[in-house]
Symmetry: C2
Subunit: 344 residues, 2 copies
């Protein structure tokens, strides 16, 4: 799903997002709590109305931002206190408060507060952390008031498979509407992430959504879907777009490269997105060199369309029973003509 | 008309521009000659195709940018030599070359190369300059090859009414498809600009377009239309938008101001633009404080819609014979509730 941390998917209007057939967007609890404030958004009838998005919204719990953006963090059984990355003011988030914030936002899927460690991390630290995350998950579920809203647990356990299994089993015992695998895509080799997805997805309930958080590249999506993952969120399509990295079936290209300056071709020949139907690589190259904001919009539309099409295609191939062939063909084509490294 | 110096109106797609009922856009000869190059654009079948704009395009001659952006200018009878503001490389533009560039771009309305002086300027310098501009205008008309393209002359003469009249008469003698009044909005008091428009518009042919270049605020447009001006170009709607200055019938507002942070109102209550139909001032305030690029798009859409609506309304009032009443009412309302100075 497209990621819109601050109540907008960067560079595109909700109307353009609808035209891209985006079904669900992610917003970030941490960012919206700090600015403009979840109470303000509640007074506007919730985040759907505030940002003019009528489709489903999932909010992550803020755990990732707390551990990546803030300074002077202090963990306790109760929760985590830290300084706002905007003005340094002190903030405490607890599992209960994070649910309250998400209920204020009025979203459709809430995530529990978790502790997100980096890679690598010591086994003992990971074990202690996942046990705390499990206790927090229990408290989050108890704190939930709104019946109609879904709540997802987050499997932690670093790169230790037995700890991952322990975390998954504990969460399944508590019982959630869906299960995320968190704490991946934090610097580990891709194969390590695939291995964990492969081992954890099967122990999660087959009738619930399995969500791989913060992932990933087009290759990551294909690899993870083949291991049983249903849902992803990632900034890659929009962030890469802003840096001129545009996705195609034969790998990403850097539109800043000289070869595109006089190319009459669209980014991808058979692409049906607004950018490819109407503009050449040469025009996009001109826009990015001239630092025109329209570049951000057109590039984001293209990359989001690429991701949406990829996911739709995978769904069709699964239904048709031909996913394995599709995967082999996709990887061959995508990895065949890379400009440098395909991973972000 | 919306201004898109580099082959795009900043922050909006051509599709959004069409939805705003924009009929003509301005692009800048100087910028496009330097980057990506008019020969490249010609090889793409012209600027309409390159930027995906099927409506009319007018290009200004580059005179204004030469005198505002470049260093080490050297004027001669032949033309002007200067250093590119991008890489310092030496460039010469002559009246003939500027026509050639515009014909390469394949635009609908070309402007002649003129010398654009600042304010204030000595009478003798202004006189010398306008005489050179007149000789250049003659050469430009001779240099024009493409029959189907319109060419407009540019009246200069600074703030000296007799020199303005001399310039206008000389241009009318040469004969152009339309006439611009240039060298205004360069720092002089607004009343001085209105006075010159008032005196010059009547001496220009009644069956040709009279175009006031680089103007202006909503008040400027109303004042100038009441003095016989038909066409304007200005960066104000989009540039103001980027700085958070949004136009309303009761004057511009600064969306950064605290009072808008929790306002559920649209920028303007009866406005039919995409931004006002879907978003509150509070959301726009959030976007600009969070430095979200979506702000630029929504704010630009609103301001362009304000200008388009204003011009459409003026046309209707002229046809209905009620322009004078409209003007009085507009100015009363617009100047009544200003946040600071209504002029940009």
């Amino acid at each position: 799903m497209p990621v819109g941390t601050q109540g907008t998917v960067k560079g595109v209007t909700p109307q353009q997002l609808k035209e891209l057939n985006a079904q669900i967007v992610l917003s970030n609890t941490y960012h919206l709590h700090l600015r403009p404030g979840d109470e303000l958004i509640k007074s506007f009838g919730g985040l759907h109305k505030f940002m003019n998005w009528s489709g489903p919204i999932l909010t992550d719990s803020g755990g990732y931002q707390i551990f990546s953006l803030t300074k002077l963090r202090k963990m306790s059984e109760e929760g985590v206190t830290f300084q706002s990355h905007i003005d340094g003011s002190p903030i405490q988030l607890t599992p209960e408060k994070v649910i309250k914030i998400q209920e204020n936002l009025g979203v459709d899927i809430m995530m529990v507060l978790d502790e997100c460690l980096g890679y690598p991390a010591e086994r003992e630290a990971v074990k202690k952390s996942l046990e705390l995350t499990t206790r927090w998950a229990k408290r989050a579920k108890v704190a939930k008031v709104r019946e109609e809203v879904s709540i997802f647990g987050i499997v932690q356990g670093g790169m230790y498979l037995d700890l991952r299994l322990e975390s998954a089993q504990a969460l399944v015992e508590i019982g959630f509407d869906g299960y995320a695998i968190g704490g991946l895509s934090v610097g580990e080799p891709p194969q390590m992430m695939y291995d964990i997805a492969e081992k954890i997805a099967p122990v999660l309930p087959q009738d619930k959504i399995r969500y791989l958080m913060g992932v990933g590249t087009p290759v990551d999506l294909v690899e993870a879907v083949s291991r049983g993952i249903d849902l992803f969120d990632c900034v890659i399509p929009t962030r890469s777009a802003r840096f001129g990295r545009l996705f195609t079936k034969s790998g990403p290209l850097n539109i800043r490269n000289k070869e595109h300056r006089s190319s009459p071709d669209p980014v991808q020949n058979d692409c049906e997105c607004y950018a490819c139907r109407n503009f050449s690589r040469a025009y996009l190259s001109h826009l990015i060199h001239a630092k025109e904001v329209l570049f951000v919009t057109l590039a984001s539309i293209h990359n989001l369309h690429f991701y949406q099409s990829l996911v739709l295609r995978m769904r069709e191939e699964i239904v048709a029973g031909s996913f394995a062939e599709f995967k082999a063909e996709f990887l061959r084509s995508y990895r065949g003509e890379l400009e440098g490294d395909a991973r972000e």
